[in-house]
């Protein structure tokens, strides 16, 4: 640390060192971050629920154990912001949907159990697109979250509140879920690190399901070392998720080496242009500069084409809504959540009124799409066909990985767009996930690492994609790239201006 900083500005590994050496208590760290939330969240609205009481108890417990001389996990005492999608025993979980308003889960998700075991301090729940369906967090029933770098722009989505909270130092670390880019795209748009691990690496038990063959939990952090520490905690076999992978979890921090000598990296043509339409030139230039940097650091890089990726969007927007229409059938006003108060003649009418009142537009649109795609007479034309093309996409990746250790490109074709810009045009919104969706379809791990800023000061993310269970190689390249520059040290800092309006400024 070159200058004394506020505790809330620290990364998890920096704070962890101070906590372990008893220079700082978990309570002091909590108070610092809480002050930050108090001053910044009115403008940003990253959080939809704050859990100060829970956090104080957790921080006190960590401080007590530390005072007794117990050796604690690396992240003990580190504050975390949780996407509103994990079941948290005793803490309301709504997926930012009216249909789950007031739902207090009677059990913890696997990843929440891990957080509790490791002594993390729960600040609260973060805003998201309803049931994780969206790319801007504008589909939330709880209002919009603003991008800390420019308050007139979206933070991305669906884990927009999580990414914004990390970017604005309203937490030390956060967690999201990624079905089509919902960790990586907001991380990119907010200038922080986000990782979607290999499908099956992290248990989905207790995570509200959107599209079960695509959903995966992952960290959103200020730097790559924090990402590795979080993955150490989250990854691992869980028999309660039948798709959980039963292979040992390495210490991911061992992969953090400041060089990429010998790594073969392919720049994916279809990430740079989808169906012939190129990404924003500033985004493209930043990604090419990042590739040049990786070459200087010892990697060999060239361009590779994966032609079936040009069909990712239609494949995804058949498979994900089809799975969602099935998963969301459970929200029927019987076991939990909202039930209509209107007088109904029978149970079907109760279901329909409850769901009409409880779901927002985008969720209804996807239930409609998925129901149609699975309905009699259309199954072969849509769902089966999409599943077959999904296989072709995965085979494209498998072929590329015979020649390359990693694939790279942009995370998002543009920097953060303006609030309201795409809300009326579903297809335009869907296209903002064009670079991230293929990775979910392939079940592969992918991450976003800051790689530059546009002329207007908006962050740009480098997309690094690995082989199945290739998280270590991905982290190594991300770390080497990050450490060769200073993008990860820049933070968005909302400040009050003369006219009382809050704006974001960059601070190195």
């Amino acid at each position: 640390m070159s200058q004394p900083r506020e505790l809330y500005e620290l990364t998890a590994h920096e704070l962890s060192d101070l906590l372990a050496s008893k220079q700082v208590s978990a309570r002091e760290a909590l108070d610092s971050v809480w002050g930050r939330i108090t001053s910044a969240d009115e403008a940003l609205h990253s959080y939809i629920l704050l859990t100060r009481d829970v956090a104080e108890r957790q921080a006190a417990a960590v401080d007590e154990r530390r005072a007794k001389g117990e050796r604690l996990p690396a992240l003990a005492g580190v504050p975390i912001a949780l996407k509103d999608i994990y079941c948290t025993k005793g803490i309301e979980t709504t997926c930012c949907s009216r249909i789950l308003a007031g739902f207090v889960p009677p059990y913890d998700a696997h990843v929440i159990e891990r957080c509790r075991e490791h002594g993390l301090v729960f600040l609260g729940k973060t805003n998201m697109d309803e049931f994780a369906m969206g790319s801007s967090t504008e589909n939330s029933s709880r209002g919009v979250t603003r991008n800390p770098w420019d308050l007139d722009r979206v933070p991305g989505g669906s884990s927009g509140g999580s990414a914004a909270s990390v970017a604005a130092s309203e937490t030390i670390v956060s967690m999201g879920t990624d079905t089509g880019g919902s960790i990586r795209q907001p991380a990119s748009l907010c200038g922080v690190v986000g990782m979607k691990p290999t499908y099956g690496r992290v248990s989905r038990y207790g995570v509200v399901a959107f599209a079960s063959s695509l959903d995966q939990v992952g960290p959103i952090t200020k730097d790559v070392r924090d990402c590795a520490l979080m993955l150490n905690m989250l990854a691992g076999y869980d028999p309660r998720d039948s798709t959980s992978i039963n292979t040992p979890v390495p210490d991911y921090t061992q992969a953090l080496k400041p060089n990429v000598k010998g790594l073969r990296i392919g720049l994916v043509k279809e990430f740079m242009e989808y169906q012939g339409v190129g990404v924003d030139p500033e985004v493209g230039a930043a990604v090419r500069a990042a590739v040049a940097r990786l070459e200087e650091l010892g990697a060999t890089c060239d361009e590779v084409s994966l032609p079936y990726l040009n069909y990712s969007i239609p494949v995804y927007y058949i498979i994900a809504p089809a799975e969602a229409s099935s998963n969301l059938a459970r929200f029927d006003g019987v076991q939990y959540g909202h039930r209509t108060r209107e007088k109904v003649a029978d149970i079907i009418e109760m279901y329909r009124k409850t769901r009409d009142e409880g779901f927002g537009s985008e969720v209804k649109r996807r239930i409609m799409l998925g129901t149609y795609a699975l309905s009699a007479g259309y199954y072969d034309a849509y769902y089966l066909k999409a599943g077959q093309v999904r296989t072709l996409i995965r085979q494209d990746f498998d072929r590329a990985f015979e020649q390359y250790d990693l694939l790279v490109g942009p995370v998002s074709p543009t920097v953060a767009f303006r609030l309201g810009e795409k809300t009326e045009d579903p297809v335009a919104m869907y296209l903002s996930d064009v670079c991230t969706i293929p990775v979910n379809l392939g079940g592969l791990p992918g991450m976003s690492v800051p790689c530059g800023f546009s002329r207007e000061g908006m962050p740009i993310g480098l997309h690094i994609v690995g082989k199945p269970l290739g998280e270590e190689t991905m982290l190594r390249a991300a770390y080497a790239f990050e450490q060769s520059g200073d993008f990860h040290r820049r933070r968005a800092v909302p400040v009050e201006t003369r006219d009382g309006r809050r704006l974001a400024v960059t601070r190195a």
Binding site: P106, G200, Y336, K364, I367, M368, Y372, K385, T391, P468
Partner: protein, 95 residues
């Protein structure tokens, strides 16, 4: 047009949704524009290609059928919008 307003109504019933007339109109337009975007998949020859439904090659993940701790009836019912005699209560199902 691939989908008529009447078909939209039928899909809404299957999906247990109730649409206002404004939603019905908007969804008919939007679903059609999304379905048009899907048409391009028809160009691809996928004869003989297996459908991939899961990202990792796993099948028949089995375990012994043994009792394990689960939620108590009180916990299971704690979020119920309506309950009676330890059960979830719903409107009439059968005439």
């Amino acid at each position: 047009m691939l989908l008529t307003p009447e078909e939209v109504d039928h899909v809404a019933l299957l999906g247990r949704l109730e649409l206002t007339s404004e939603e019905r109109e908007r969804f008919t337009d939007q679903l059609n524009s999304i379905l048009e975007h899907f048409e391009q998949l028809g160009q691809l020859d996928t004869a003989g290609v297996p459908a991939m439904s899961h990202a990792i090659a796993m099948s028949n993940v089995l375990r012994e059928d043994v009792p394990a701790p689960s939620l108590s009836p009180e916990e299971a019912l704690q979020n119920a919008p309506d309950q009676a005699s330890g059960c979830f209560r719903v409107p009439r199902v059968i005439e």
